[in-house]
Amino acid sequence: MKLQFLFLLLLVACEPPPRTDNTTATDADTVQLSNTEPSPNEEYVMVTTAINLPLYVNHDQAAFRAWGQKTGVRISILGPSDWDVPAQIQTIEQVIGTRPAGLLINGTDPGIAQAINKAVDAGIPTVVYDSEVPGSRAPCFIGSDWYDMGRLQGERMVKLLNGRGKVACLGILGMANQEAGFQGMLDVFKKHPGIQFVGKYDDKGNFETAARTAADILAAHPDLAGFCGFDSQSGPGAGLAVKEAGRAGKLKITTVDAEPEHLKLVREGVIDYLVGQKRELFTWYGAQFLFDMAHGTNRFSANDRRAGIAPIPQAISTGAVEIDRQNIANFRVRN
């Protein structure tokens, strides 16, 4: 009898996970303020991973801070210091309980989709930036198309090598957006049989590792003709290795990002082509969309959330900034 009771109790207390992805909005109340004037107590939170990454600090976070200052609301930037996606997920889940006015999430990996959906279900205005997260129900994504960035690099490398030569690439293996970039580049190379792809190598987003790995690749393939880079440290790392090998200007380098060190290397003739993101736009406009959602700036029904309408743009590609030796003079380079 006792066992039966215990079994019954467990059965009642047991709550299975939802079977299918719920694509409709829930009845949770949207955080909506009564007017479009910002309140100083209103808080917008950015959750990222690798929070100390200079690329994030100098672009995403700087623009988000500037937006907060201009708008007169409170902003917070949270997340683990390492590239640790599960820790980012935990941070998102803990932030949900504190009910911020809006949540700006760096789309680092498809694995964060569930955490994003939790925020959406909790009625918190949520925008994903940088890379799209498949399976997420965030009403807006704003960022770059990484496959396209890889394709642009691949096309430029083919042009630089006149369709013939050995190419290797550096980046962070296993990171969803970079893998998409690798694929974009490889799809271009497939159309050019003269390009011999040596392989993709993990530089862990670290300058020293990138330089060391690039030097090792050069030692193993003395006839290497080009490097393609996919994270902010790939280009500078490959650049250093190529300079040390005395092959600057002869070996072609294309890479992502347009940080001061990248621009300097283009000016020096070490890097041939940069494909940069307009990262400031991710967080500036992402935050503005959150603000508009929270304040109901544009309404399309009595309750857009219940009606399943996102009162902001659904997906925005911010495009790419292409830099080479022809237009480098237009960019300020720190000495």
Binding site: C14, E15, I51, N52, L78, Q90, Q94, G97, G135, L173
Partner: protein
């Protein structure tokens, strides 16, 4: 004679429990709307569950005077292998879980074998294994694997009494191992080995076999944690478990284990992980930037090791005083 209601301040489980209580009371006073809520408590438990399961294995290792730096990579491997088999080969979820766990056990066995029989230093062996296993995890998970069968998701996402499944798994692991370590001769031997390995060998304990078992158990628990993490996130990520080893070792030392071996309680491992999870939660609630997280984690580790050293020195002093007293008493009796 023991005083009623007296507190044994040397018992780290007691002091850490009181510290946690104090921290909770203070934080509840400062953030009454966000910290002392059922949702937040449940989130804290969920977040610490994976770390605590791994911490149990690490506690057993540290009691025996060993440690394992590859546990974080094993977490990624077991989840990655299970995910890979289910997603790419339509393998039954139970078989996939079995394969993931088996791979984890194999890693533990190899670590144990090489450390115990070949005499390789545990730090060197497990550091090397950390890289090897992370590489395999990266190969299997790539840019992350999603869309697992419902049965697999159920293991980590279902709820019982409003607590998500990993919390119950953690409690089961804690109860089982607390019982085993306290009540079985097999596990009690680790205290002898950690206290004095030579004496343990001379007393007839097969130290090498015990060491192999300790690494197998630790890796097995890390494997279980990896399966639960994949199920909980609904994704197998190559970044899973990154930095876990540092967190877990910190938690276990906080919980009363000694770097010199021979000490520690399973509940201490739980309390250490709980303390770390609450600190992390407080940092997020109070919006302390991720920039400070590593600093704070490092400071906690220093304090933990400092306290450990203080206790070691104090107990050595007390022991020597007792020896002196006993010999004086003996002399007086003879006189």
């Amino acid at each position: 004679m023991n005083q009623p209601f007296s507190i044994n301040w040397q018992n780290r489980v007691v002091t850490l429990g009181l510290t946690i209580g104090l921290l909770c009371i203070i934080t509840s006073g400062v953030y009454p709307a966000t910290f002392p809520t059922v949702g937040n408590a449940s989130q804290i438990l969920l977040n610490l569950s994976i770390d605590a399961i791994v911490a149990v294995g690490m506690m057993i290792l540290l009691i025996g005077g060993m440690f394992d730096l590859s546990v974080g990579s094993v977490v990624a491997l077991s989840g990655g292998l299970s995910g890979y088999l289910m997603y790419y080969h339509d393998t039954n979820f139970l078989v996939a879980i079995g394969a993931g766990l088996l791979a984890a056990l194999l890693v533990g066995y190899v670590n144990g074998l090489l450390i115990a029989r070949a005499g390789i230093n545990p730090m060197i062996q497990t550091l090397a294994m950390m890289g090897i296993v992370r590489g395999f995890a990266l190969m299997l998970s790539g840019a992350g694997i999603q869309n697992f069968p419902y049965e697999f998701i159920y293991i980590g996402q279902s709820k019982l009494f409003k607590l998500q499944a990993p919390v119950w798994w953690m409690l089961a692991v804690l109860l089982i191992f607390a019982f085993l370590v306290n009540r079985t001769v097999f596990f009690r031997r680790y205290y002898y080995i950690g206290g004095n390995e030579k004496a343990a060998r001379l007393s007839g304990i097969d130290v090498d076999r015990m060491k192999i078992w300790a690494f197998v158990i630790s890796a097995g628990l890390a494997g279980l944690a990896g399966i639960l993490l994949s199920s909980r996130l609904g994704a197998a990520l190559s970044t899973s478990g990154r930095g876990l080893e540092l967190r877990v070792i910190t938690a276990v030392i906080l919980g009363g284990a000694s770097l010199s071996g021979g000490q520690g309680r399973i509940w201490g491992a739980f309390l250490g992980a709980l303390f770390m999870a609450i600190v992390n939660n407080v940092l997020i609630i109070s919006r302390v930037s991720g920039y400070w997280q590593e600093v704070i984690l490092g400071l906690i580790l220093i304090v933990a090791v400092g306290v450990d050293q203080w206790f070691v020195r104090r107990s050595e002093r007390v022991l020597s005083q007792r020896v002196v007293k006993t010999s004086l008493n003996a002399e007086n009796t003879e006189i």
